[in-house]
Symmetry: D2
Subunit: 376 residues, 4 copies
Amino acid sequence: MNNFSKEVMAVGEMASGAKLTVPVYSFKQEGTSAPNVYIQANMHGAEVQGNAVIFQLLELLKHCQLRSNITLVPYANPVACNHKNGEYTLGRFDPITGVNWNRMYHFDQSIIQPFAEKNIDASEAEIKSQFEQLLITQVEQKLDHNIWGLTTGQRIAYQLQRLAHQADIVLDLHTGPISSKHLYCPEYAQASAKHFNIEHTLLIPNDFDGAMDEATFCPWWSLQQSFQGLGRNFVMGEGAFAKESFTVELGSQEQIDLEVAKQDAQSLLTYLQSKGVISGEEYQPETMTRYACYLKDYKALYSPMGGMVDYLAEFGQPLSAGEPLARILRMDNYGDGEALHYVSLEQEVIPILHFASASVNQGTELYKVFCNYFEL
Amino acid sequence: MNNFSKEVMAVGEMASGAKLTVPVYSFKQEGTSAPNVYIQANMHGAEVQGNAVIFQLLELLKHCQLRSNITLVPYANPVACNHKNGEYTLGRFDPITGVNWNRMYHFDQSIIQPFAEKNIDASEAEIKSQFEQLLITQVEQKLDHNIWGLTTGQRIAYQLQRLAHQADIVLDLHTGPISSKHLYCPEYAQASAKHFNIEHTLLIPNDFDGAMDEATFCPWWSLQQSFQGLGRNFVMGEGAFAKESFTVELGSQEQIDLEVAKQDAQSLLTYLQSKGVISGEEYQPETMTRYACYLKDYKALYSPMGGMVDYLAEFGQPLSAGEPLARILRMDNYGDGEALHYVSLEQEVIPILHFASASVNQGTELYKVFCNYFEL
Amino acid sequence: MNNFSKEVMAVGEMASGAKLTVPVYSFKQEGTSAPNVYIQANMHGAEVQGNAVIFQLLELLKHCQLRSNITLVPYANPVACNHKNGEYTLGRFDPITGVNWNRMYHFDQSIIQPFAEKNIDASEAEIKSQFEQLLITQVEQKLDHNIWGLTTGQRIAYQLQRLAHQADIVLDLHTGPISSKHLYCPEYAQASAKHFNIEHTLLIPNDFDGAMDEATFCPWWSLQQSFQGLGRNFVMGEGAFAKESFTVELGSQEQIDLEVAKQDAQSLLTYLQSKGVISGEEYQPETMTRYACYLKDYKALYSPMGGMVDYLAEFGQPLSAGEPLARILRMDNYGDGEALHYVSLEQEVIPILHFASASVNQGTELYKVFCNYFEL
Amino acid sequence: MNNFSKEVMAVGEMASGAKLTVPVYSFKQEGTSAPNVYIQANMHGAEVQGNAVIFQLLELLKHCQLRSNITLVPYANPVACNHKNGEYTLGRFDPITGVNWNRMYHFDQSIIQPFAEKNIDASEAEIKSQFEQLLITQVEQKLDHNIWGLTTGQRIAYQLQRLAHQADIVLDLHTGPISSKHLYCPEYAQASAKHFNIEHTLLIPNDFDGAMDEATFCPWWSLQQSFQGLGRNFVMGEGAFAKESFTVELGSQEQIDLEVAKQDAQSLLTYLQSKGVISGEEYQPETMTRYACYLKDYKALYSPMGGMVDYLAEFGQPLSAGEPLARILRMDNYGDGEALHYVSLEQEVIPILHFASASVNQGTELYKVFCNYFEL
């Protein structure tokens, strides 16, 4: 049975002085022969199912034959996960500033071109180790040399990112509000999406918007492009650039289900096995129709009115143009107006998730849908 | 087809001066021959399904043969129903004061004994009409003569109560957090519980704690007891005292489902038809095992620890002593403690509802259950 | 210099498993010759100034000659004090249930009469020690024998109450929203109010509503009354019944001022010196006009409209009938209505505190005022 | 006396169907001979003092000799201003999404260069009128042609922006949390800062980050630069480009003071008179030392620890390097650690504002300060 070590990382202090910590579980191998892995969960406070998935991963990994280092971090953001607003967890953004907790990671584009120029003749192994070290050093400097201080979220994000930069594969476990499972996958890693038991994949470009997945693959993608501009060609996803990061959306927030978590853990192991992280062939992807769309075609639909929403569209199934996604109840209009308003679109889409509550203001995000989707 | 009238009642003003209003729908009959009815929904902000039930009731009542006056009030508390906290509705209490919106109705015990003494020889009809008028006058005085003002919630509650006191039957439509359907029924009206298509009934005593149901039946129950003490006997639920109030818990909060609402509307019509409010025999109660328990045996179970909860127990089914209600995930204990904690009870219970989120603090209410239940 | 001991008391767990603790500082004397003292602060999350007062008390007490045991508990409720809602602390009630944190202490009226009957012939010293022990045992049983669990707030309250019942003098440090200093004082202890440097005192009756001060003096007051009914007379505030509890309102919430805290600490020491807790005559009450009123005459004024409030009345000074307390701005009425509405009362009052924000709904508590006040 | 017209603009709908509206006051002149003016207040919910300033402006403008059109919009964002969280207003961001309400205005950089190229030979008057029209048309299209809908905040922002683009001078009235008065001023309009009675000015560059001031001056500044690139030179702030936008920070949030508002209204009229909007010389700027710094030198200091803050530094006065800005109380460290932590900086700064509450988490923004400031 594999042994893991457990460390506790201090990530924040509350007004009473209470320290908030994050447990970090590590399986370390000698002489790793496969990509190192970093998995975290619960960066958004209400998105708790990933903790259960990490529980099941730990249970399963103890009995796998491991070929590289794996680090697992549940409760990645205890500030968010402990923040109750009424009965629910206010977890997507810092309640003081409104900033999304998953938009605070670091990436400094200005380091890319100089690094490429300086290392134009370096070996692939040197490039890998030195660029990794540069990325780690950068976040460590952010953490340690902060005359003006760090925001609450930056302090958490940078500590996580320091761990993530040491890995080749990063899995950031999230959920939607009320949602089907789906995967955010960098465009170059499209082939890997088939190894997850997840039917819907978003293909994302090389744009950094502050998220963990972007923060770990954008630097390498940008570096590859810089090298290309200098005439040296690498392939993203291979060799030194065998870096893949995914945001795995596990379903709906505000719930834990350990049985479903076991299936999700197996889905992640299927992917990791395909990368050689674990030996053997125990975990094989399920046969399913996998749909994908590009991020630009992942559209949000905002409510045309205030009201109470009866969500009608089934997740994950193509919905024909004109078919209703939802109907909005407006009892104040009953008797002298339109008490039921049907919401539909003029094109075929696949509904992926909808808002967490039936009560919406005019302008609340009702649904997110795949447009122009295609089979993977 | 029956016609209803629609009025709009101003119940509050926000900081911007915006007025919040409540629509009031009334079916009026000439020469009523059955109990008058008052139905409201959504006093608690997140408990929106009742609005859909009122929609379906209006649709159905238009085609019924009505024998009394029926008043329906959706969106009873727009202050609460419009109050978003993050994605969810903070709706059980006034966000400024913490006071439960359904604990602000009025009942002045001190009017009972003097009324009984003064009307000891009055006819039953006189008692009914004069006591009704007294109750209405009391809330109107509260509304109109308020040197020190009314709280936000009192202003709403008293306006609703003024309407409710004009009826003989009061149905206050609520929901639980994540919940099965259940009914709060005064002990004397136990026989009526069988006319609802609801499997679980709570029998409540003559104690006033501020809720709408209590505010409308406690005065009459107390009056009946005062008369009894003076040697004049009436039967609660009959004649002048044919007053029944129910809190109908329709299931879970934060959702609207118009199909389910139609079934719930039919369930309410079944009860109303049994009371002669609508003619005919169209609506008959379904055959089902109906369980009840007394309010004192409706127990809340508080979480013994902070953590993330995988709720296991099925609603509405007896759960044997020792069987787990839930398991609590504590990843911080993984590896050096107990990562899964099972929660069970030492007696058989029927789980009725559980907390709305998987994330709980130590001391959060996990479940509410029937103990010492019996078949109705 | 006096030494104190420091212990840490675990009072709660968050969803991530994070434990919340409360520091407890104790000065212990051998052979105490004066009342023992318990002082706590910050039961309401936003009411933080008491922590600074305890800081200054600790600094001062180290250099006093102490004659009894003193226990000091800052950060009494870390769940509340760590709960940010936006920029502010949501601290008066449990954000999940709405229940006021200072309404969860324990008092069981049913133990009083049996105790009096059983101890009708006991010595005063026996009565004191045995009733103290009974009160402590009761809360310990609540803490330790809880099949159904305790709410988050009960667990905190009972642990604090266990400490408080070991003292004769209880000082619970609070603040108002935006407020002058004032004191809640049991009616029988009126003479003690003059020893605080606080100009305004509320005299409260023997009614238990769940607060710490009531939870510690009501049992004794009730016991004294029971003995009286049995023909044995004690004087409240003397001998075995030398029990005094005060809620000290230190001013406004959401702020810390260490200089003001030093003055407040000196004011508390003035009272404690008058009770012999510290030797000497260093701390003498300031000369000031002290006003008091009975709790029934401490009135809240609720806003007659939504709007934005320019609070005009000065705290602590008698305000003549008809003089404006506030004016409410209603820009939506500018040009075609009343843009400024003046709020006044028909009697003379002393304004004590007002709402924390300029933005009010119709029905928000604007001011609290002393009516029918008198000089102490 | 000047007459104004009043219109009501619908900007949002809540879940109950309640419509939220904004009053729009307009003074219209025939044959305007000065810049048109747009003034709004309360885009952030807690920042209410601007409504009182608009009240006083309306009172004063009625008696001025006006030379152009002036539009005034109080309560610009009723969704935010009505959103109570506990006692306070959660007003800086949409409570559902966390997005800052003042980051949702529209600016499409891609229209600039084509417009300049097309109008390279147009008269200055044509450029002004056609570019104004283009900006207005753009936001109208956003409002009217939105298949996917608009967010709650966009709908409000675009409606306000449609009005603002019709003016030459835009004043957006805000406040800080607890704050001194200060002014956000585009760098090219630095000379205008001296006409406000405001001691501290931030000079901001031509970067669009979504705010109202930027949304109204950035398009013109960008256009001027495009023309310059094409060889046609205009001066920002003059002729067709006499466009100036300011964010006026009036002091602290959560309060209304009508007397202070009158002074602020006079300060705004002083500026407007300097621009010829009102005739005469009644309003002259006060003599005061005015400090300015560039936006890049306006620094936030984040708390190095959780705790409770005694804010020490006085606003608006230079604070020497090493002098404490604040001290942080940590009672949990009393007796065995550092109970008071002093916060200082290694350079001279002018403190401008601080956080709204004494309770801070590690990483909460404590202060914002001017660095490298200079006299205007």
